[in-house]
């Protein structure tokens, strides 16, 4: 059975057990975040949860490490712009 998640509205399929990061890379996407100072693109770097470069928003929760979080069917994954949590800004 093919499982899939939504990444910025696009369907991305994955094998059970894969992380979100692995799924995105397998689909040809290699960046899913912009830095907060210079707006530079980032994706996966250390791959093991130490560098926190690969942060993205999953089901509304920001700052999730794509290299660690296991992909699940129906997840809503979004590029994280800057710090995430833009809704809190006053």
């Amino acid at each position: 059975m093919t499982e899939s998640l939504s990444f910025d509205g696009t369907v991305v399929t994955f094998r059970p057990g894969q992380t979100i990061g692995a799924a995105l890379l397998a689909s040809g996407t290699r960046s899913w975040r912009t830095t907060r100072r210079n707006g530079r693109l980032r994706g996966l770097f250390c791959g093991i949860g130490v560098c926190f470069d690969c942060l993205l928003t999953v089901d509304g929760i920001p700052d999730q490490r794509a290299c660690l979080v296991e992909a699940r069917d129906g997840m809503q994954v979004r590029t994280q712009q800057g710090v995430g949590r833009a809704g809190l800004a006053v």
């Binding site: 057990g17 530079r40 994706g43 791959g47 949860g49 560098c51 470069d53």
Partner: protein, 470 residues
């Protein structure tokens, strides 16, 4: 309830890689009530990753060696007597009169687990050295590439340059080839002669030599250039990511020869300069440290793997980077020492074969460090705009301004002034390079302790911290 103040475990092992698995199973073998905690979803740590349903855990598909797989399988089979807690990210450990309390974040909650003795096996992660363009998408840690390949069967691109130093570059290249990718080149900064300094060591560790020969054969079969005294001095790309790597010859100190620069097309650059131990938890407990041969700060341990904190033992990469087999040996010794301390095992000398194996593997590790040093001249390939701190986007120019213009000569103050090392990763990636760069710029000794302490070992939410257990 095991782990509660009234019912502590005998042994808590933190880290379920080779060292932690060996320590936990050994302790359990001696009748100790043992808990094993790890932040990942399953045991194995960084060394022993495998995709579900493949030939066997830890089997290396490029050489089909089942060695590591057998050891891992054996340890996993013994785990049924251990309380295994996965997805437990330990953020702090305190010493108490009766032992230790291990605090871990699980999803958004926090738990506390108490034990009479403690074995720390937190492992290590790739050491990185910044270079121009290393923050482009597509530049990844060598260990990250291997984790993707082995555990998820995924490559982050099709044309890969592997660069840095150390025997680990070879299996990384092998993993790319095994999954149908192209390794454009392997760039090794060392010259390979360091291994010849102590040939007796190589004879004592024939498995390593076989590994190296096997990997070399794989590379040769696929026409992959293995370039010694060469490094990636720049990653080039557009805003979407890496499109090419600039290679250059390096002199004995690691300084690039500008005239030798040549560019190769690629969409992945995988870099690694050996490994650097994860010391947040041992430092948080006040364990004494020492500088290992590769300049890394490591936990100082006795012959029985005990740290300077009584009842706290350490094993694996944290005591000195030396590979999975050494980690297993140290783990067994640490688990045994914990059992002896608890009175669950007679305090005889440890088995001689374990001590011999540890000695031999440590000699191998020493040789490896000597053959693959962090080249002192690496700052020569930096330019002003090179990112030093990925998290906070601090450049080399920012660091130089603090040192030169503002007269700051110690890494901690440079950090506090520039924010280099103050972002999400809290200096795990950039702390060592920053300390090395400041030392180079100020002609002062490199001080690895200056950037090392992190009382909060993994981020946890204010809500979890507020409501966590005592």
């Amino acid at each position: 309830m095991p782990g509660s103040p009234s019912d502590p475990y005998d042994v808590a092992v933190v880290g379920a890689g080779p060292a932690g698995l060996a320590a936990a199973t050994t302790a359990a073998d001696h009748g100790c009530a043992t808990v094993l905690l790890d932040g990942a979803g399953g045991p194995g740590g960084q060394y022993w990753r495998s995709a579900p349903g493949t030939a066997g855990p830890g089997t290396d598909p490029t050489t089909d060696r089942a060695g590591p797989g057998r050891v891992l399988a054996g340890l996993l089979a013994d785990l049924d007597r251990v309380d295994v807690r996965t997805r437990h990210e330990v953020w702090s450990i305190q010493a108490e009169p009766a032992g230790f309390v291990v605090r871990a974040q699980v999803d958004v909650a926090e738990i506390a687990s108490r034990a009479r003795t403690l074995v720390l096996a937190p492992g290590a992660h790739d050491r990185q050295l910044p270079f121009p363009g290393w923050d482009l998408p597509g530049v990844v840690a060598a260990g990250g590439l291997q984790a993707l390949a082995k555990e998820h069967g995924v490559l982050p691109g099709r044309r890969v340059v592997v660069a840095g130093t150390g025997p680990f570059l070879l299996p990384v290249a092998g993993a790319v080839i095994a999954r149908g990718g192209t390794v454009v080149a392997v760039a090794e900064a060392g010259d390979g002669t360091g291994w010849l300094r102590d040939p007796a060591v190589l004879m004592g560790t024939p498995g390593r030599v076989r590994d190296a020969v096997a990997y070399a054969a794989v590379l040769a079969r696929h026409g992959v250039p293995f370039l010694r005294r060469t490094g990636v001095v720049e990653a080039v790309g557009d805003d979407c990511g890496v499109t090419a790597a600039v290679l250059a010859r390096l002199d004995g100190a690691g300084r690039p020869d500008g005239g030798s620069r040549h560019t190769v097309d690629c969409d992945v650059v995988a870099t690694g300069w050996g490994f650097t131990p994860r010391l947040d938890l041992p430092l948080g407990l006040g364990c004494a440290t020492r500088a290992d041969l590769d300049g890394s700060l490591v936990v100082a341990v006795t012959a029985r793997q005990e740290t300077s904190v009584p009842g706290c033992f350490a094993a694996g990469e944290a005591t000195g980077v030396g590979g999975a087999e050494l980690a297993v040996v140290e783990g067994r010794l640490a688990g045994l020492a914990a059992a002896i301390r608890l009175g669950n095992a007679p305090s005889d000398p440890p088995p001689a074969r374990l001590l011999r194996r540890r000695r031999s593997l440590r000699r191998f590790a020493a040789l490896m460090h000597a053959a693959h040093p962090v080249p002192p001249g690496w700052p020569a390939w930096l330019d002003e705009r090179t990112t030093m701190c990925r998290c906070e986007e601090v450049s080399v120019a920012d660091v130089d301004e603090a040192v030169t213009d503002l007269g700051v000569t110690d890494p901690r103050t440079v950090k506090l002034l520039t924010r280099c090392g103050m972002g999400w990763c809290q200096g795990r990636i950039c702390g060592e390079p920053l300390a090395r760069l400041v030392a180079a710029r100020t002609s002062t000794p490199y001080d690895p302790m200056s950037m090392a302490t992190r009382p909060v070992a993994v981020p946890l939410t204010l809500g979890a911290l507020a409501t966590g257990p005592s």
